[in-house]
Amino acid sequence: MEHFIFDLKYYIIPSFLIVTLSLAIILILNRVYYQYNLPSRHLIIRKSEKFLTEITLSKPDKNILKYKIAKFKSEIPIHRTWCKEMLIDDMIRMKSNLKGQTAKNILIIYKQLNLNHYSASLIRDFRKYKKCEGIYHFQSLGYKPGISLIKKYLYHPNKIIRSNANIAYLALSKGDWQAINNIPVKVSIITTIKVMDVLHSEKIPIPPQINLWIESENPTILKLAIMTMVFYNYTNKSAQIINLLHHEDKALKIDVITAIQDLFLEEAEDELIKVFPTESIEIQIEILDALAVIGSEKTIAFLKNEIEKQEIKDIKLKMVFCLNKLDSISLDVLGAHDPDTQKMINHTRKLQL
C-alpha cells in the first residue's frame, strides 16, 4: 500500500496533472493562434478569390498570365498546405460553375501554380485518404496528364481507392472502361451514383462494349449496363433486359424493373404480370409502378381481378394507384363495390392536391 501511495504521489498524479494542464494550454494556445492568424488568412482567401475570378474571366495572353501568376505566387504563402488546399478547393468550385475556355483557364492556373504536383504527392502518400483526395483533385479539375498516375490504382486492394480511381479514370479518359471487369460483385449505391454522374457531367459516349456487359454474370456489371442503357435511352437489348427479371439478385431485379419503366419497354408487360405472383412485396410494388407507365388493357384486366382479392394493403394501394393511372373509370366501378377500395381511391386522388 505504501508503495502504491508513493507511486501515486510522485509518478501517477504528476503525470496526469502534466497531461491535463498541457491539454488545456494546447487548447487555448491553438485558439489564440487561430484567432491571431485569422485576419491575414481571410485577406489571403479574398486575394485568391479575386485573382482566380479575374484571371479566369479576363482571357489574358500567355505572357501576361505567366506574369500575373508569378506576382500572385509571391503575394501568398503558397508553400503552406492550407493555402494550396484552399486554392484547389476554390478552383474546383469555380470549375463546376464554368464551361468552355474559362473552365480551361482554371486548369492552366492549376498547372502554373504547380498545384498538380501537390495533388500528385497526395496520390503517392501512404495514407489512403490522401490518395483519395489527390484523385479527387485530378478528376474535378479534369487534369488529363494525371491519368498515368491514377491508372496504377485501378486494381488497388482498398475498395474506396479503387472506386475513386476507376471513376476518375473513366471521367478523365472520357469513357475508357478498361477496369470494368474488375468491379466487385457487390457495390454500394454510391458507386453507381458516381458512375452515372460522370456519364452525365463528362458527356461520355455510350460504351461500345455495352452489348457484352448485359451478358455478364457479375450483377454489378449488369446493374451498370442497365443504368447506362437507361441513361442513353438504349433499347437495342430490351429482350436481354426483360430476361433479367428472372435474375436471383433482388437489387438487380429492382433496377431492371426501373429500367423497363424508364425505357418504356411495353413488350415487358406480359413478363411483369407473369412474375408478379412469385415476387416479394417490395418487388411487386416496383412492378406496379412500372405497369402504371407501360401497362395496357392486359394490365387493366389483371388489376381489376387482383384488387378485389388482394389482402396486403400496401400492394392493394399501389394497385389502385396503378389502375387510377391506366383506367380511372374501371377503378370507380371497383370502388363502388368495396368501401376499402374507395378509401384508397380517395387517398390516391387527393394526396396530390
Partner: protein, 478 residues
C-alpha cells in the same frame, strides 16, 4: 466482532471499487482512441463522394421527416418553415399534432392553406386514433403533411403515427422545435447509400440553442450558453456526442441515437414494432429492439454516427425541469436494460449481448449506485476510524484529473475540427465549467439518476412532464 466484520466488508468494497475504476478508466481510454480514429476516418473520406453529386442523382433515397408537436402554437409556423427550408431532392415533412390543446393545428391550417384529405392510413404500428390528415393547397408547401391525432401522452405514440403516414423508405425523427442545419438530411442519409452492409440508423451531434441568435426558426449565430445549467449540459453534450458515440459507432456498438435527431430504416423500425409508447427512453429502447431484430433475423447491419453538429435544441435551464428530464432518462435506461435483460451475455446477440449491454449496465447504470454507496462507505470508514485520508485524497484527485483530461480532450477535438465557439474566452469559460463540474453539476445528475431508479423500482406512475421552452427570440431583442 461487528467492527471486524465491517472492516472486512469495507475492504471487500474497496477491492470492488478499485477493479471497477480500473475497468472504467481502461474502457474510456479505449473509447477515446476509437473516437479519434473514427472522426479522422470520417473527415478524411469525405471525398469518397461529393454531396453535390448525390443531390444531382435520380437514385437518391427519399426521406420523411417526422416531427411531433404538442402545444407548440407559439412557434409552430416558424418551426415548419425552418424544416421546409432544408436542402434535399426527395423529402416530405410530417408534423404530428399530438392532440394539442392550444391553437397549433389552427395556426398550421391558416398559415399553410391546409385542407383535410382522405388519407388511407395504415396502422402498421398501433397508435392512438388519428383524426385526420391535412395537405396544403399551395404547391409551395407540397412537401408538408399534417397528421392530427388524439394525444397519446408520449412522443413515441406521435412519432409512430408519423411513421405510419410516411411514404419514403427512410425517416428522420426530430423535435419540432429543433433547428436543423440545411444539409442535415443529406448528411444523415449518405451512410445509408455508401455502405454495402445495411445501415439501419444514423445520428449526429446535437448542440444547445439556448443563447443562440434565432429568428423565425432560423439559426443566425451560435453562442455559448449564458445560463449555468445549459453550460454544464453543453459540456456534457460535447463529451457524449463527439467522444462516446463516435467511438461506439466505430465498433458498430451504438445503442442510442438521440430522439432529437436520428434517421432510421423505416422497414426495420416497423418490423421491430416502432417506438414503444410506454418507454421513458424511447430512443434507446428502439435502437436496442432494432439491434435485437437484426440479430434474430441473422442480418448484418450498421448504426452510424456522424461527428458533426447538425441540430440545435433548447435544453432545460432550470433545476426543476433539468431534474425531471434526468429522472426520466435514468428511468428510461433501467427500463430498457430490464426489458432486454435476456439479451445480456446471450451468444445470439453478439456484441450487443456481450459488450454493449454489459457496458451500459456497468458503466452507465451502476455508476450512480457505486458513487452513492462509496459515500456511505466513506462515512462508515470515518466512523470506525479505518479511513486512510492520504490515500483517499490522492485517489480522488487522480480520478478527478482523469475526468478532467477526458473532458478537455473532447473540447480539444471539437475545437480543432469545428471551431464551434466564438472566442478563446468562451473556451476558458468551458474549461472553468469542466473544473467545477464534478463538484457542482455531477452530484445533481447522480441524485436524478438514483431518483429515476427509485421511481422505476417503486413502479411510480410515469409522466413525461412539460418542457417549458422560452421560444425563439429575435437577435434584435437581445
Amino acid at each position: 466482532m461487528t467492527h471486524d466484520f465491517l472492516y472486512y466488508l469495507i475492504r471487500v468494497y474497496d477491492i470492488f471499487v478499485a477493479c471497477f475504476s480500473i475497468g472504467y478508466i481502461s474502457f474510456y481510454i479505449f473509447l477515446s482512441i476509437l473516437s479519434y480514429w473514427a472522426i479522422i476516418k470520417h473527415l478524411k473520406y469525405q471525398k469518397y463522394l461529393e454531396e453535390e453529386v448525390l443531390i444531382r442523382s435520380n437514385h437518391i433515397l427519399g426521406v420523411s421527416i417526422v416531427a411531433p408537436a404538442f402545444n407548440e402554437g407559439v412557434n409552430i409556423v416558424y418551426n415548419v418553415k425552418s424544416l421546409l427550408s432544408l436542402t434535399y431532392p426527395k423529402f416530405e415533412i410530417i408534423i404530428v399534432n399530438d392532440g394539442s390543446s392550444d391553437n397549433t393545428l389552427e395556426k398550421l391550417i391558416t398559415e399553410f392553406d391546409l385542407v383535410k384529405i382522405d388519407f388511407y392510413y395504415q396502422e402498421k404500428i398501433v397508435t392512438q386514433p388519428v383524426r385526420g390528415h391535412y395537405k396544403s393547397t399551395n404547391p409551395v408547401y407540397s412537401r408538408l403533411l399534417i397528421v392530427d391525432k388524439i394525444n397519446g401522452k408520449s412522443k413515441a405514440d406521435a412519432s409512430n403515427a408519423g411513421i405510419n403516414s410516411s411514404q419514403y423508405p427512410l425517416f428522420l425523427c426530430t423535435d419540432v422545435d429543433c433547428i436543423l442545419k440545411s444539409n442535415t438530411i443529406l448528411k444523415l442519409a449518405k451512410p445509408f447509400m455508401e455502405n454495402e452492409t445495411r445501415v439501419i440508423a444514423t445520428g449526429a451531434g446535437i448542440r444547445i440553442s439556448n443563447s443562440c441568435d434565432i429568428k423565425e426558426g432560423f439559426l443566425y449565430k451560435v453562442h455559448y450558453p449564458k445560463e449555468w445549467y445549459p453550460r454544464f449540459q453543453e459540456l456534457e453534450y460535447v463529451r457524449s456526442f463527439l467522444f462516446g458515440r463516435m467511438a461506439w459507432s466505430q465498433i458498430n456498438g451504438l445503442l442510442l441515437v438521440s430522439g432529437g435527431l436520428g434517421m432510421f430504416d423505416k422497414d426495420i423500425v416497423i418490423k421491430a414494432g416502432g417506438y414503444w409508447h410506454q418507454s421513458l427512453g424511447e430512443d434507446m429502447e428502439l435502437i436496442t429492439r432494432m439491434r435485437k431484430y437484426m440479430h434474430d433475423a441473422k442480418e448484418d447491419f450498421l448504426i452510424k454516427y456522424i461527428p458533426e453538429s447538425l441540430c440545435w435544441t433548447e435544453v432545460p435551464s432550470t433545476r426543476e425541469i433539468f431534474l425531471r428530464q434526468r429522472i426520466r432518462w435514468a428511468r428510461g435506461l433501467v427500463q430498457t436494460l430490464y426489458l432486454h435483460r435476456k439479451m445480456f451475455l446471450n451468444p445470439k446477440y453478439g456484441r450487443t449481448g456481450f459488450l454493449i449491454l454489459p457496458f451500459f449496465f456497468s458503466f452507465e447504470f451502476l455508476v450512480p449506485i457505486v458513487e452513492f454507496t462509496g459515500i456511505i462507505t466513506l462515512i462508515a470508514s470515518f466512523v470506525f476510524g479505518i479511513i486512510n485520508f492520504q490515500f483517499l485524497f490522492l485517489i480522488s484527485f487522480l480520478v478527478y484529473l482523469f475526468y478532467l483530461s477526458i473532458t478537455i480532450i473532447s473540447i480539444l477535438i471539437d475545437e480543432v475540427l469545428y471551431k464551434s465557439y466564438a472566442s478563446y474566452k468562451e473556451l476558458i469559460t468551458l474549461i472553468g465549467m469542466a473544473i467545477i463540474e464534478p463538484f457542482v453539476y455531477h452530484p445533481i445528475t447522480i441524485y436524478a439518476s438514483l431518483k429515476g431508479y427509485w421511481h422505476f423500482f417503486r413502479k411510480k406512475e410515469q409522466k413525461w412532464g412539460v418542457m417549458v421552452r422560452k421560444g425563439f427570440e429575435s437577435p434584435a431583442k437581445k
